[in-house]
């Protein structure tokens, strides 16, 4: 019986080694992003301009980004959301007089399970 267990777990372990092939990048962005997100969560002033760009990390796939997109679209004043997964940029269009606050935008990113790196407002 023991050798059967050894064979089974050896196969599982061998399969597990295959995952050790990835590299780590952008750690500086994470540290910076953490600070930005925490500050933004306390900023209750509304954004300026007709649009705002959120730079977000951790949206690993199209369905993941849909999670954030739907949350943003439910916010008052938001009329459009466009996501570029490659750059992590989420462009939020707010053409009307009602503008979301920075804390609300940061909260939407956090509650969707992602990391807000920075917020870029249109001039």
């Amino acid at each position: 019986m023991i050798h059967k267990h050894i064979i089974f777990w050896a196969m599982v372990a061998l399969a597990g080694f295959g995952c050790q092939t990835t590299s780590t990048t952008h750690h500086d962005h994470v540290e910076m992003g953490t600070g930005v997100a925490e500050a933004m969560l306390k900023d209750t002033t509304p954004i300026d301009g007709p649009s705002v760009t959120l730079v977000v990390h951790g949206m690993s796939c199209p369905l993941c980004s849909n999670n954030l997109g739907k949350t943003l679209m439910e916010m008052p004043g938001v009329e459009g959301v466009m996501v570029n997964l490659d750059t992590g940029k989420v462009v939020v269009t707010t053409p009307g007089p009602i503008k979301p606050t920075r804390s609300a935008l940061a909260g939407a990113v956090k509650n969707s399970g992602f990391k807000l790196i920075r917020l870029e407002e249109a001039p």
């Binding site: 089974f8 750690h27 994470v30 993941c64 570029n84």
Partner: protein
């Protein structure tokens, strides 16, 4: 020791779920809906058991309707629920026949993300803990009549075009009704170990306009029961995913089987479809706040071993016990 014959499982999955983004067919992932988000999935499974090695000509068909729900309680805590309804049609040589239908046990689970490191726009590492419970809500012969807790650890990593998932789950069986045809049904504790890799075949780079993606998948799914039964499956597959839905297909091949307390699986085929066009697909009156619904259709074939063949009692009970022992 009985070594199983080479078996195969074919799975075709059309999936649409934010909560299970980047999740392979069989391996759970440490992804989940955001706060206040509800995700539903409908699963219809057809199972067929035949190829009786004793030559008794016994066959059975199961139809299983499964409903999965995931609701984000916070940004890192999700509540999940699974309900199954089964209809079973059994035949055996000599004109034996029986029909049964009913609910199996309700399964609830909380999944908590305990660690997260987002290292790039699409790069992330996440670790989640899962605590679940099977409630004794099912009817005979599908219910367990027992409270069966479950603990698990789930890890997900995405780096560039590569993705990796690993899950380890342990189900404490406190007295379930023996059902050797299904893994974990023999009344013993069950350990489930899953590993999977994903590679984004296309596109090389996402853009705001190019949001659809093709992924190649390879899974390793291991099952070990405390009675010594164990199985290891390998499952290559492919997935297409856009923002609102996903299409996934895989073929599951058993690489290792050693089963002494339930029938070996000679061939198992599973088809799943997940139409995701909107709430009209649910049939349950629940609106998905994020993600969408899905429907799975599965077909399974099993080989019965002699040790599980019961003594003939009455024509009706014989077929039933054959499936439930």
């Amino acid at each position: 020791m009985r070594v199983a014959t080479i078996t195969a499982t074919a799975t075709l999955l059309l999936a649409g779920a934010v909560a299970w983004a980047q999740q392979p067919v069989h391996n759970p992932a440490a992804t989940q809906p955001g706060k206040g988000r509800l995700m539903m999935r409908e699963l219809v499974t057809f199972q067929h058991y035949d190829a009786d090695p004793k030559g008794l000509g016994r066959q059975a068909d199961d139809v299983v309707l499964t409903t999965d729900m995931a609701y984000g309680l916070t940004g890192d805590l999700v509540f999940m629920l699974r309900a199954e309804y089964l209809a079973r049609d059994q035949d055996a040589r000599g004109g034996l026949h029986s029909d049964d239908d009913g609910f199996s046990d309700l399964h609830i689970m909380f999944k908590k993300r305990v660690w997260q490191q987002d290292t790039g726009p699409t790069d992330t590492r996440r670790l989640g803990l899962a605590v679940g419970l099977d409630l004794p809500t099912g009817s005979a012969p599908f219910g367990s009549d027992s409270w069966d807790p479950m603990l698990g650890v789930i890890y997900t990593e995405v780096e560039g075009r590569w993705g990796f998932n690993a899950a380890w789950r342990w189900k404490f069986n406190t007295g379930s009704r023996p059902n050797p045809l299904r893994v974990g049904g023999a009344g013993e504790d069950l350990m489930m170990t899953d590993l999977s890799w994903l590679y984004r075949l296309s596109p090389d780079q996402f853009t705001a306009q190019k949001t659809g993606a093709w992924y190649a998948i390879l899974e390793a799914n291991g099952f070990y029961e405390t009675n010594g039964d164990m199985e290891l499956f390998l499952a290559p597959g492919i997935m297409y995913e856009v923002q609102g839905w996903a299409l996934e297909a895989s073929v599951q091949l058993p690489a290792f089987q050693d089963l002494d307390h339930r029938p070996n699986t000679e061939f198992r085929k599973r088809h799943k479809t997940h139409p995701c066009s909107g709430p009209s697909n649910f049939g349950l009156g629940l609106k998905p706040v994020s993600g969408c619904c899905s429907t799975d259709v599965c077909v399974e074939h099993g080989t019965l071993q002699g040790s599980f063949l019961p003594e003939a009692k009455s024509p009706r009970s014989t077929a039933r016990e054959w499936l439930c022992r």
